[in-house]
């Protein structure tokens, strides 16, 4: 079905869950009032990104009052949002929830925790171990958190699991000032467009803005059609609210024109990956 999505390009405050939740609720109310069907927040929207030792302090259980409040709000609008999740066995995950009709439809735990360059996630967070597509009232979706998307296999698995829409929640730092456009933005734009094109999927990319200790997150949230074409893109380096009308017909037409996913040979892929795994001695 056709639907309207809002990509909430926010500026979370580092370690301030109460204030962030309040601003998230404001964005939800505004999107709902504007008639949106779905709102997508960035990675770690409730906590901020460079948390380091703050991770346990900002973590929320899925049954916490804060998360339950968002579940309740999803009665009026579907919500995708990132936060630090605390589990019964006291592991802390960089997680994303998809909430709809007053229920949790899906929980994704970030699988690929970058720990290189300016990133240090795996020092503080536990690694997720699954990519699963799930059904929503807008069709079958898959969720990725930032670095997950830089692993082709992640998007591929979700698409093979039937997802026709990929949501990517991101906290991507701005870097690279030599070219015509910001280096990290240009790289991401190439990635989301190529992923959409390869997999005949829509991509809903929601990236945050604001500074943390001199590191600037670049925003530029966007909706990519299954053809790989960027339909709407948010402001660079500034808060924004990006509204996109998503048409079911465009997805259907693209899958008729470019039936790569129909022709994709799961058997060959599995056979070769299993051979590689065996040869590596696992």
């Amino acid at each position: 079905m056709d639907f309207t999505v809002v990509l909430a390009q926010i500026k979370p405050k580092l370690g301030c869950v109460v204030e962030n939740l309040a601003s998230v609720e404001e964005r939800i109310a505004a999107a709902r009032e504007a008639g949106a069907d779905l709102i997508v927040f960035p990675e770690l929207a409730l906590s901020g990104y460079f948390l380091k030792d703050l991770v346990p302090d900002v973590a929320l259980r899925v049954d916490s009052a804060e998360i339950q409040r968002l579940v309740e709000l999803s009665g009026g609008i579907s919500i995708a949002i990132g936060f630090v999740e605390e589990t019964d066995d006291y592991h802390f995950f960089n997680s994303a929830l998809y909430l709809e009709d007053g229920a949790i439809r899906h929980l994704h735990r970030k699988v690929y925790l970058p720990t290189y360059g300016l990133f240090d996630e795996q020092r503080y967070l536990a690694r997720g171990e699954a990519f699963r597509a799930f059904d929503t009232r807008f069709g079958r979706f898959g969720m990725l958190i930032c670095e997950d998307m830089w692993h082709l296999s992640a998007s591929y698995i979700l698409a093979m699991d039937g997802a026709t829409t990929l949501i990517c929640l991101s906290s991507s730092p701005a870097r690279g000032i030599e070219g015509d456009s910001l280096g990290s933005a240009a790289a991401w734009q190439k990635l989301v467009s190529t992923t959409a094109m390869f997999l005949n999927c829509r991509v809903l990319y929601s990236n945050r803005v604001g500074f943390e200790d001199g590191v600037n997150f670049w925003g530029g949230s966007e909706y990519i059609a299954p053809s790989g074409e960027s339909m709407v893109r948010g402001l660079l380096l500034e808060e924004d609210s990006v509204t996109a009308r998503v048409h079911e017909g465009a997805l259907r037409r693209e899958r008729i024109f470019s039936p790569m996913m129909r022709d994709e040979n799961l058997f060959v892929t599995m056979q070769e990956l299993q051979r590689i795994a065996q040869e590596r001695g696992r």
Binding site: L14, G15, C16, L54, E178, D180, D213, L237
Partner: protein, 273 residues
């Protein structure tokens, strides 16, 4: 050297945004900086004036009796060009009073003392004006250790610490820093006729070209040689970076507990902001 050409429009937006956000998020609206008459502090003044109301930017020129009179003139010119507040606090009496006790002190000790004297004035004005001190060290001098620890290297926020001198020149031109300031020879201005490039023994453009490849691109010694860099020059710059690394770190703390500051007690400075 195209890779050192910065996209000045983008860079300006990021650095102006940096000052605006990082200052305001701590509940402060003003900044203070030392304006030497040189290009680095001139550029920081222009960035700050654009980020905050120029009324909220306080520049202090702090000459010593041997400083080139042209420096104060240029500092004033910069302050007028970007409309910020400007005052002059000479450091001659404080510095001379101290060295009366140590008349044999060499240029390095005198230069360091002057840099630290200026630092105390800036941080005193930080308290006086409720203003954050802006740093004016660029990436070239931070990497080479060409600065005084707890002197000109001391600040709350440094907008230009990740851009090379070559990029400082480009951005300064794009932001309208007065031509006289951009075109003159860089100098620490500690004694008459001193220039950075003469003291360092190489030009900024030359060393930036190497630093960009060595630090940012992580080229190996063999790759640098293949690009025509002299082996001895490469080694001497590497030694400068290594030997000055202490200046870029907090003081080393002897670890005895389970949570030692900055080792296993780790928080961002913007914690709660």
């Amino acid at each position: 050297m195209s890779e050192l050409l910065a996209n000045t429009e983008l860079l300006r937006k990021i650095l102006v945004g940096f000052v605006r956000e990082e200052v305001r998020k701590v509940g402060i609206s003003k900044v203070v900086l030392g304006l030497s008459g040189g290009i680095d502090s001139a550029l920081v003044a222009f960035i700050a004036a654009e980020a905050l109301d120029p009324e909220n930017v306080h520049a202090i020129c702090m000459p010593y009796r041997t400083s080139n009179p042209e420096s104060e003139k240029h500092a004033r010119l910069v302050a007028e060009a970007c409309g910020i507040r400007f005052s002059v606090v000479p450091i001659t009496t404080m510095v001379d009073a101290y060295f009366e006790k140590f008349p044999d002190a060499d240029n390095m000790r005198r230069g360091n003392k002057m840099a630290r004297e200026r630092m105390t004035i800036l941080f005193d004005h930080s308290a006086l004006l409720r203003a954050l001190v802006l740093g004016t060290s660029n990436k070239t001098e931070l990497l080479l250790g060409y600065g005084t620890l707890y002197g000109d290297m001391a600040s709350a926020l440094n907008p230009i610490g990740d851009i090379y001198k070559s990029q400082v020149w480009q951005l300064s031109a794009a932001m309208g820093v007065p031509r006289e300031v951009i075109e003159k020879q860089p100098s620490a201005d500690l004694w008459a006729g001193q220039t950075d490039e003469e003291e360092l023994g190489f030009s900024y453009r030359q060393v930036d070209k190497l630093l960009f490849r060595m630090v940012d691109k992580r080229l190996t010694r063999q790759e640098l040689a293949a690009e025509g860099f002299d082996g001895e020059f490469v080694e001497s710059i590497h030694a400068k970076i290594q030997n000055s690394h202490f200046k870029r770190r907090l003081p080393v703390i002897a670890k005895v507990s389970n949570r030692t500051i900055d080792r296993d007690f780790r928080y961002a400075r913007d914690w709660g902001k």
